[in-house]
């Protein structure tokens, strides 16, 4: 594979090449890994915005409105929408484009749908890699949409700089239950579908929970009522995003997040390598499995046998 040519084309903003490189990393191929290794230094720090929330709250519809604003303001805007794969069939229906008319109106917007694949309910393990390709491509802003069920909202916090949690007036009753997960991770809370009843009662409720949680007034997440459908209050949301971005930069919060992210990724990659080599050792002993030997003893034996030097080869076997 002609990596240099790929890079050259990416820098020329060639979308056919961009799509192909993303496929390479999405499928976790050897070439994809090599590409990221080689050109990591070429990336710029795009501003990454996560949008999460329960199914059907209007994340894509809202994103469609944000795309319009950001596409006018920045040279290059990208959207990555992650949808769950079926754990039974491995298949997925990726339907977020349905509500994103604006991706077709602006030539500087790139949108990619991603299936979560192996990771249980969470983000695809390759999502971070896809974002890195977009950063090598040189995009200014990346939106990441994920459905907030279980693990994925925590994952989205880890791979983005700012998280918008989207709720609807009907979420009122379930916020108590969600509190543990979703209330923790938002930098901005949006009550979408505020064209409906109860929207302001719910936003007051969310505000009261957040005020208890945060001491620093400047960092207490704002709660904003919008209607993506009617385009109400979207500009207010945009200016809150820009405002928070400035604060995050000034306070060094983004820098810190990126540092933590890099460390976590190294840990993730190492874990993946180890698991693969453990699996290989397990295959070797499978045949002579003595049922009277304790699993601890077996583990200690395996540990002694792992050849750390060959870890990289195992990684490349994929």
């Amino acid at each position: 594979m002609d990596f240099e040519n790929f890079l050259k084309k990416l820098k020329e903003k060639d979308r056919v090449t961009l799509s192909k490189v993303i496929t390479l990393v999405d499928n976790e191929t050897k070439e994809g890994v090599e590409f990221l290794k080689k050109f990591y230094k070429e990336r710029k720090d795009s501003f990454r915005i996560g949008i999460t929330g329960p199914p059907g709250v209007g994340k894509s519809t809202l994103l469609n409105k944000l795309i319009e604003r950001f596409a006018k303001k920045y040279d290059s805007v990208s959207v990555v929408a992650v949808d769950p794969s079926s754990p039974f069939t491995g298949g997925a229906i990726l339907g977020d484009r349905l509500r994103m008319e604006n991706i077709y109106k602006f030539d500087n917007v790139y949108m990619r749908s991603v299936a979560s694949r192996g990771s249980l309910g969470g983000l695809s393990s390759s999502t971070e890699n896809i974002l890195q390709v977009l950063e090598i491509f040189g995009t200014d802003v990346i939106f990441v949409e994920t459905v907030g069920v279980g693990q994925s909202e925590l994952d989205v916090m880890e791979i983005t700089d700012l998280v918008i949690v989207t709720l609807v007036p009907e979420s009122g009753d379930s916020i108590q239950a969600m509190k543990a997960g979703i209330m923790e991770i938002g930098d901005i809370f949006v009550i979408n579908k505020s064209d409906r009843e109860d929207a302001y009662r719910v936003s007051e409720y969310v505000k009261s929970i957040l005020q208890m949680k945060y001491q620093d007034k400047e960092l207490t997440p704002p709660v904003i009522n919008v209607s993506a459908k009617n385009d109400t209050n979207i500009d207010e949301l945009v200016s809150r995003i820009e405002n928070l971005k400035e604060i995050f930069i000034q306070k060094g919060i983004i820098e810190r997040k990126r540092e933590i992210r890099r460390k976590k990724e190294v840990r993730e990659i190492l874990r993946d390598m180890f698991i693969k080599s453990i699996d290989r050792e397990l295959k070797i002993i499978e045949n002579k499995n003595d049922k009277d030997v304790s699993p601890y003893e077996i583990s200690e034996k395996i540990l002694k046998n792992i050849d750390f030097k060959s870890l990289e080869d195992i990684w490349k076997e994929r």
Binding site: R15, T89, A92, I93, L94, G95, S113, R117
Partner: protein, 134 residues
């Protein structure tokens, strides 16, 4: 990791219902494929932009409006212009036999008439993938 077959299912034209497209989208997903579903009123330009940005293996169009002789060739042409004629274009709908033959001559893949089983489509895509993308 086993590579997934990625398919774009779209419904071009102005006629107003997408039941057929939805049925095929969920059948393909049940067969383990990753399906990009874009809904109604897709123009050839949008279809091709989506196919390129999503880097799909195949594009399936459901056409009932009788516009097949304009839409299929247009999509083929745009794919070619973007050097992505390697993407399989197939479809379904009410298409007279002569038209089907002419479209297939142009380079369109298999066209499934009314009453086709979803299994035929799945087998066709798997077979194509095996031969062209492995």
């Amino acid at each position: 990791m086993e590579r997934k077959i990625k398919v774009l299912v779209a419904k071009p034209g102005l006629d107003g219902h997408d039941r057929g497209a939805k049925v095929i989208a969920s059948a393909l997903s049940d067969a383990g494929m990753e399906v990009i579903y874009t809904g109604l009123h897709q123009t050839p330009e949008k279809i091709v932009k989506t196919a390129i940005d999503e880097d799909v293996d195949a594009v399936g169009l459901s056409i009932l409006s009788g516009a097949h002789m304009t839409i299929f060739p247009k999509v083929l042409k745009l794919l070619k212009e973007n050097k992505r004629e390697d993407i399989l274009l197939f479809g379904g709908g009410i298409i007279p036999k002569e038209d089907m033959e002419e479209l297939e001559k142009m380079g369109v893949g298999k066209l499934f008439g009314p009453g086709s089983q979803t299994k035929e489509v799945i087998d066709y895509l798997r077979d194509w993938f095996e031969k062209n993308r492995k």
